[in-house]
Symmetry: C2
Subunit: 321 residues, 2 copies
């Protein structure tokens, strides 16, 4: 690894007041990077606060030190010297946490989304990194903060989830090198695997079965669409976040180039997820609908009914399929 | 890596007549190791023959040099100086290829199955290796044969398939270190991922949907049983090997300790697959039924009808669940 020229950790001293925040609806990479960097910062600084907007997702409650995460309260308005914003392409994705950013003297934006808007005073953006956790590894390693099992567990979790278990094409030789080093710290991959992948409630598995039998395939077998009406969540006793994974099954069908998941949130609000298999850049498709993301995985929210939202999505995709 | 004391490649010279063989119903690790070692041997030896018993599985036809694999013909009886047997716990799993072994002066048995019977003149058995491909990497590296993109592609394929994409607990820091080195040879992981995971025929996806809606859960939610009658394969237009993957979905359900897949091959022949989540050693369960395998993944063949076979399996599992 080349020595980093301006390591943002060099701005931190023992008495700095530091906040670490991430995007709404946190996933493995945002939680892993937030906790991983938070734990590393605590080794060099006495006042580190980690915030998330939402409730901590139960699935990730195996992560070390997740109890240290605070829910944002309005009295936390006291200014921070430094605010690290992780895995967040856009200030709008910060939800309430945006107020923390606004009450910080310096904002350090560390992210791997190509669509990042460079909203920080310092912006460390690497669209070639597999994950924000991979970037945090490099920052922490370069600054010679000692890794431990807890930090390694957090960073491993972000890397394994954002690379689809090391098989998406964001995975590089360097990704595996990092993971090899993290595993030397004796992280319990059995426990991580169990929590991430081997503990699926039966209702989510039955729901997957239902979805696979009700796929809409169109555009000469290149497009798969999954529609999830609000009622269906009730029928299977699921929350919105339980549903997201099914889109990958649709993408992985022979001939399918793009898979779309339409989730009816309310009568006039539909969350849309996109997955691309090879050449289609779905970050652009999502951007045209007011969203964003990566080339092969992106999302947007459409403020229409389900039928209307579906038509808009089909229109956008007609141009690229 | 420590220098290997008796590297079996030191037995090979330029004019040796060498065969490389693997088990019946070859999977990613047996094909990857057979082709990977075969390609490496061709760099140091002029007469290398690679055999498999069965037709080459279409899914793996992206592997380099798979055209070099021969189907065993009885005229191939001429004695070999050396026969490398890979990823094969037991001579019985060699099928017809056993004749090649019997017509070889020295047999070199390289395998990572704990149940290996040490049937070779030289036995290199490492039950801690993630895969036979990982062992072949070490043998080739130690002997200083130069890796290239083709060899790397073969070995990567065996490692990624036998580790369930690097998440099973056979995955170690060393596994990731190897993969990091293999990826430096610019293997096309997009293409490998596409062929292994993103090219599933629609009928196999619909079949998965059907199976997930027809699981039998018993023993207080600890055991999931999938029964596949011969007729069902016809209905979905599937071959036996298309079916195997569904067992993992059953294992990954919350509370399930063991998943079983019963495949009716004929009226009096049932192939049984076992997957364990944590503490149950299913290699022992399979051994009690005349089969074998790994602690968390094993199999056996029961020569009874489906109902009888199921009863036998339930009896065996009652003791351990």
């Amino acid at each position: 690894m080349k020595k980093m020229e301006n390591n943002p950790l060099s701005l931190v001293d023992k008495n700095s007041k530091v906040a670490v925040i991430a995007h709404v609806n946190p996933d493995g990479d945002s939680l892993g990077s937030t906790l991983g960097l938070g734990l590393a910062l605590k080794k060099i600084c006495n006042q580190v606060a980690i915030y998330i907007n939402d409730e901590f997702p139960k699935k990730y409650s195996f992560l070390p030190a997740y109890q240290d995460i605070k829910l944002y309260q309005s009295e936390d308005h006291a200014p921070f010297d430094l605010c690290f914003v992780l895995d967040c392409g856009d200030e709008k994705r910060l939800g309430y946490s945006k107020r923390i950013l606004e009450n910080s003297i310096q904002v350090i934006n560390i992210d791997h989304h190509i669509s990042n808007t460079n909203f920080g005073h310092i912006n460390l953006i690497d669209a070639k990194a597999s994950s924000t956790c991979e970037m945090i590894y490099s920052v922490v390693k370069d600054f010679k903060v000692e890794f431990d099992k807890d930090i390694a567990t957090c960073l491993y979790t972000g890397i394994v989830t954002d690379t689809g278990n090391f098989i998406y094409d964001n995975t590089t030789s360097y990704t595996h090198k990092i993971v090899s080093e993290l595993m030397e710290l004796e992280i319990d991959i059995n426990n991580i695997t169990y929590n991430l992948y081997q503990n699926r409630p039966l209702n989510t598995v039955k729901f997957l079965g239902y979805i696979l039998n009700n796929l809409h395939i169109c555009y000469d077998g290149k497009l798969a669409i999954i529609e999830v009406k609000k009622d269906l969540l009730g029928e299977f006793n699921l929350s919105h976040s339980d549903v997201d994974g099914v889109i990958n099954y649709a993408r992985d069908i022979e001939g399918i180039e793009v898979a779309v998941l339409l989730k009816e949130v309310n009568m006039q609000e539909v969350k849309v997820g996109f997955r691309s298999k090879s050449h289609v850049d779905v970050s652009k498709v999502a951007q045209n609908l007011g969203g964003g993301g990566h080339k092969k995985a992106s999302g947007a929210t459409i403020y229409n009914g389900l039928d209307e939202a579906r038509k808009k999505v089909e229109e956008e995709l007609k141009r690229v399929l």
